[in-house]
């Protein structure tokens, strides 16, 4: 069925907004299970957006990467996190180092900053998805912010994977996705990374018998004075 | 370099060796007169030397070859210096061997070896004497050099024969720089030869003797040589002072005829110099050792003033 160009860009902008909302929600979320759900939703919106862009710009390889994202980020990874949280019986609620309102303000500031930063890209880009690049950069920054403000190792990893998601999102919005070889490679890397995170969780839990990151602060130099 | 300049040279050396004890005797007799004591006579030093030469030499067990070599070296340097300083005449074959700085260093070798022999036996007095002698010497040298520097500035040379030549030919003008240098030089001579204000030559009292402490262990002919050298040293320093500041009456041309007159002038000047030394010695008492740096500081100040006044005034 024929979809006009500007309705397509409206749909893409809507999906991008949804992805942004989910990353804001992940920043504010207190419970781990909720965090995993939001991560899955973000993966879903991303997959739909990629598939839609693939359909509109009739780029076949985008469908493959959409499928990959769907399989990996919506089903496989959340499932792994469920098992980990259950097996290592991690404390459910996640305390936050910075209170939520200030986090929200920082998030908004990041969106404004990324708008200012991606201005030249928008003028130059002729693609319909050019306006979503701003949201992509914002979600990357918020992924980083999430890793900074969380105390638990699992939440840090979720922040890291959220960042990878938004990078994938930036790729589709800036250049209709990178060549297939690169897309597959990136997906493979993320899979291996997730697998290694799993191994790490077991190691950390056995040695520190808690996944609290503050335990791991022995390698420091500031108080060893002469 | 005619034959008779060699003769004059030989005469001068003999004169220095022979006349030095007489000058020392003259200074001692003057002191006795001033202090109302009866004098042993002008030629008492000769009798002392003769007595010492015939006495037996007693050495410590651990005295090394330096202890026995030093008296001869002292005598050698003194005689060599006597041959260089223009006392009777200017054109001496040895005159070119050394200028004023080298002369001071000749006396420095003598002092170096004397200090070493003082420490050789390993008694407390020897070490004390050497240590104090070297302290005084190290403060006297810069002052001495500044005085000589002023003289050489005025006369455009540091070799004594040339200085005497310039003063002799030039007319007598009273320069403040030269007077400052002369006073500084006199102060330094008293320090170098160990006269009263700095060191007492006549006593063996531990606290006051510096030069005497070093030669405490000497005896027999060694002691004689050292005594003779110290007399010669006093004589040579006075002649050095006369040559640098008041050389009138010295035999300028190489002729033998002028020698008797030069000899007469020299004896007169030495008499006056002896008088000045004795006046200072009877007038002053020996200073405490750590007042000597100020005394030599004054000498240095005067010499530097002389040098500065030379540049500023003329």
């Amino acid at each position: 069925m024929e979809i006009t160009l500007e309705t397509a860009s409206q749909v893409i902008d809507f999906l991008a907004a949804l992805v942004l909302i989910t990353s804001f929600a992940m920043l504010a979320q207190r419970r781990i299970y909720g965090l995993i759900h939001l991560f899955a939703w973000q993966g879903l919106f991303l997959a739909i957006n990629t598939a839609f862009v693939g359909y509109m710009a009739d780029k076949s390889h985008l469908f493959i990467s959409a499928g990959l994202t769907l399989g990996l980020k919506v089903f496989l990874l959340p499932y792994i996190f469920y098992i980990l949280v259950h097996r290592l019986n991690i404390r459910k609620e996640v305390e936050n180092m910075v209170n939520i309102p200030t986090l929200m303000f920082i998030g908004i500031a990041l969106v404004i900053l990324s708008y200012y930063v991606t201005a030249p890209v928008r003028e130059l880009s002729t693609l319909m998805t050019r306006s979503t690049l701003t949201f992509a950069l914002a979600t990357v920054m918020m992924g980083l912010l999430m890793m900074i403000t969380r105390r638990n190792a699992v939440t840090q990893v979720i922040g890291f994977l959220a960042m990878e998601n938004s990078l994938f999102f930036a790729a589709t919005s800036a250049t209709y996705g990178m060549p297939l070889v690169v897309e597959l490679g990136v997906a493979l890397d993320i899979l291996i990374a997730a697998f290694i995170f799993g191994i790490f969780f077991f190691h950390i839990n056995t040695t520190f018998d808690s996944l609290d990151v503050d335990r791991m602060a022995k390698l420091k130099e500031d108080e060893m004075d002469e | 370099m005619s034959m008779d300049s060699f003769i004059i040279e030989a005469l001068q050396v003999l004169l220095v060796i022979g006349l030095a004890p007489a000058f020392a005797g003259w200074v001692r007799t003057l002191k006795c007169w001033f202090q109302g004591r009866s004098t042993p006579g002008l030629f008492q030093p000769y009798r002392d030397l003769f007595k010492l030469f015939s006495k037996e030499v007693v050495l410590a067990y651990n005295a090394s070859w330096i202890f026995r070599f030093t008296p001869y070296l002292l005598f050698g340097t003194a005689v060599l210096a006597g041959g260089i300083i223009p006392i009777l005449s200017i054109d001496l074959p040895l005159a070119a061997t050394a200028d004023v700085i080298v002369l001071i260093s000749l006396f420095a070798i003598a002092r170096f070896f004397l200090a070493l022999s003082g420490m050789d036996i390993g008694t407390a007095f020897g070490g004390m004497g050497s240590s104090r002698e070297m302290m005084i010497a190290s403060l006297a040298e810069p002052a001495m050099l500044m005085a000589i520097f002023t003289v050489s500035l005025v006369n455009k040379s540091t070799s004594l024969a040339e200085i005497v030549q310039v003063i002799y030919s030039g007319q007598l003008i009273l320069r403040p720089s030269i007077t400052f240098a002369l006073i500084a030089f006199i102060l330094i001579i008293l320090a170098e030869t160990g006269r009263i204000p700095v060191d007492n030559p006549a006593t063996h009292l531990e606290l006051t003797m510096i030069h005497e402490a070093m030669i405490l262990e000497y005896s027999g002919r060694h002691l004689a040589l050292i005594e003779w050298t110290s007399m010669m040293k006093l004589y040579l320093f006075v002649c050095l002072c006369i040559a640098a500041f008041a050389p009138w009456g010295i035999a300028v041309k190489g002729s033998l005829a002028a020698l008797p007159a030069a000899f007469g002038f020299m004896v007169a000047k030495l008499g006056v110099a002896g008088l000045i030394i004795v006046l200072i010695e009877t007038g002053l008492a020996k200073m405490r050792l750590f007042r000597v740096p100020e005394y030599l500081g004054v000498a240095f100040l005067l010499a530097t003033l002389g040098m500065l006044s030379f540049f500023i005034l003329d």
């Binding site: 030249p120 890209v121 130059l124 990136v186 790490f200 190691h203 040695t207 390698l219 | -």
Partner: protein, 486 residues
């Protein structure tokens, strides 16, 4: 640009050897196999180098991989150092096994990941596609993370975790930079894989959009800069390089930092061509100077021997970054020479530090004493290694520092003062610390070990020779690379 099979062979060998070692695992001959595979890789790289000398730059694998002056010299260096590290790790790891610090599974994992790590480094050097370069660098991080935590001690796991997270974040930002470069290249070179190839990008550098590229360079600089260990992104490096087993620390410090800096240099050439200003160079110089100063001063207070050498790596990477940032034939030539010299010296120094730690049973520098007496060869190689590292002349590092300092005086004299302070303090720190380790009486708690001296002697000999005489072919390589990067 003719095609080359040896390049494919060169890429495939480490991958196959990883597979072989997966099978061989921890049997008796595993270390020997590991050495054989690394030697094969090195032989392939030499063959490739000879072929490059004969018929110039080459492409391969549907121009997915390429060879030019810059990456051939790094590839040969990487495979050579991997070979010598394999030789060193045979004796080192056997002793670690005897002391029970690593078990059967860990050794198998160690050998497989050793070869995978070499494969990923060579892949990132040889890849023509900037996306593939990113993937290979990410792979390098993944392979070494668990190696750093091989000993399972709390500090090892903490170091590995920090290494993983910080480098992961860095690499992610680099991916964003790669996307932006691809976006700018797409405008000129059209869709598909063509726009991501270094060869095409270098040719068309002038027409790319300057603002996009400068933005991309910011992301690339922070991304790969984290991998190079430039201050303020350096915090993971001292922990990761000091907690892992010594062969891995040697590879990390010696080679992986070069690979990361290699990508930044390539990107800088691109940005310079398009923006025609010294924007990228100035940023690199700033990062370089801060790294030299901070690392120089923190060397003064280190207590652990491998941590100190990790900080020295940060300092030397800072100097190299500063040299490439300064630009100009002299500074770029010196930068390349500095990379070569630093890799050889740093790996040799890590080998001797590993031996010294094993002899004394600890990495605490206060407890390592009297190496001259107990094990003269280890003692003297540690002393000469540190002298080379500190920049004493007969060694190569002084040559490159000489060129860098003189180039700085002529082009940017004010920076030379900071370089002097950084180098001087690092010199004093290094010598002050190494002196008690080598001299004095040997304490009783030392146990004699059979040390692998050959790699150390070869490395230091090459560094000494390079300090006085640079062979013709290498000089020619450097000059062509300098023309590209200037």
């Amino acid at each position: 640009m003719n095609n080359s099979e040896t390049l494919l062979l060169f890429l495939v060998i480490p991958f196959i050897s990883a597979a072989i070692l997966a099978v061989v695992g921890d049997r008796k001959l595993a270390p020997e196999v590991n050495i054989a595979c690394s030697t094969a890789t090195f032989a392939a790289s030499v063959a490739l180098a000879v072929e490059y000398c004969l018929n110039g730059p080459m492409l391969a694998g549907g121009n997915l991989f390429f060879v030019d002056a810059l990456n051939i010299f790094l590839a040969v260096l990487t495979s050579f150092v991997s070979m010598t590290t394999a030789v060193f790790s045979r004796r080192y790891m056997r002793r670690e096994r005897e002391h029970g610090r690593v078990d059967h599974v860990a050794m198998r994992y160690y050998h497989v990941m050793f070869q995978m790590f070499i494969f990923s480094m060579i892949l990132s050097l040889m890849s023509n596609n900037i996306g593939l370069l990113w993937i290979a660098t990410e792979l390098a991080t993944l392979t070494t993370v668990l190696l750093v935590s091989l000993y399972r001690t709390p500090t090892a796991i903490e170091a590995a975790w920090k290494y993983f997270i910080l480098c992961g974040v860095g690499i992610a930002l680099a991916l964003f930079g790669t996307v932006l470069v691809y976006f700018a290249a797409e405008k000129v070179l059209g869709e598909g894989g063509e726009a991501m190839l270094w060869t095409n990008l270098n040719m068309v550098g002038g027409q790319l959009e300057p603002t996009i590229l400068s933005l991309a360079f910011v992301f690339m600089m922070v991304g790969y800069g984290a991998k190079v260990g430039l201050v303020p992104l350096h915090n993971w490096l001292p922990d990761a390089h000091s907690e892992g087993p010594t062969p891995i620390s040697a590879l990390l410090s010696g080679l992986l930092l070069n690979i990361a800096l290699y990508s930044i240099i390539r990107c800088k050439a691109l940005v310079d061509a398009s923006t025609k200003t010294s924007y990228a160079g100035d940023m690199m110089m700033a990062f370089g100077i801060i790294s030299v100063l901070v690392a120089g001063f923190s060397i003064l207070r280190q207590k652990d021997i491998k941590r100190m050498f990790a900080y020295s790596s940060i300092e030397h990477m800072g100097i190299a970054t500063f040299a490439f940032g300064l630009g100009g034939t002299l500074a770029t030539f010196a930068g390349l020479l500095h990379l070569l010299m630093h890799s050889l010296t740093k790996s040799a120094v890590f080998f001797t530090a590993g031996h010294a730690a094993q002899i004394n049973g600890t990495q605490e520098m206060d407890k390592i004493k009297g190496l001259f007496k107990s094990n003269p060869l280890v003692g003297w190689s540690l002393m000469f290694g540190v002298m080379a590292l500190a920049g004493m002349p007969p060694f190569g590092i002084f040559t490159s520092e000489f060129m860098i300092l003189t180039a700085t005086i002529q082009q940017a004299p004010i920076w030379s003062l900071f370089l002097l302070i950084g180098l001087g303090v690092a010199f004093a720190g290094l010598i002050r610390v190494v002196q008690p380790m080598v001299s004095g009486e040997a304490p009783d708690y030392q146990e004699p070990i059979k040390a692998a001296h050959l790699p150390v002697i070869i490395h230091l000999a090459i560094v000494l020779i390079m300090g006085l005489y640079i062979p013709g072919f290498l000089n020619q390589w450097f000059n062509t690379a300098v023309e590209m990067l200037k």
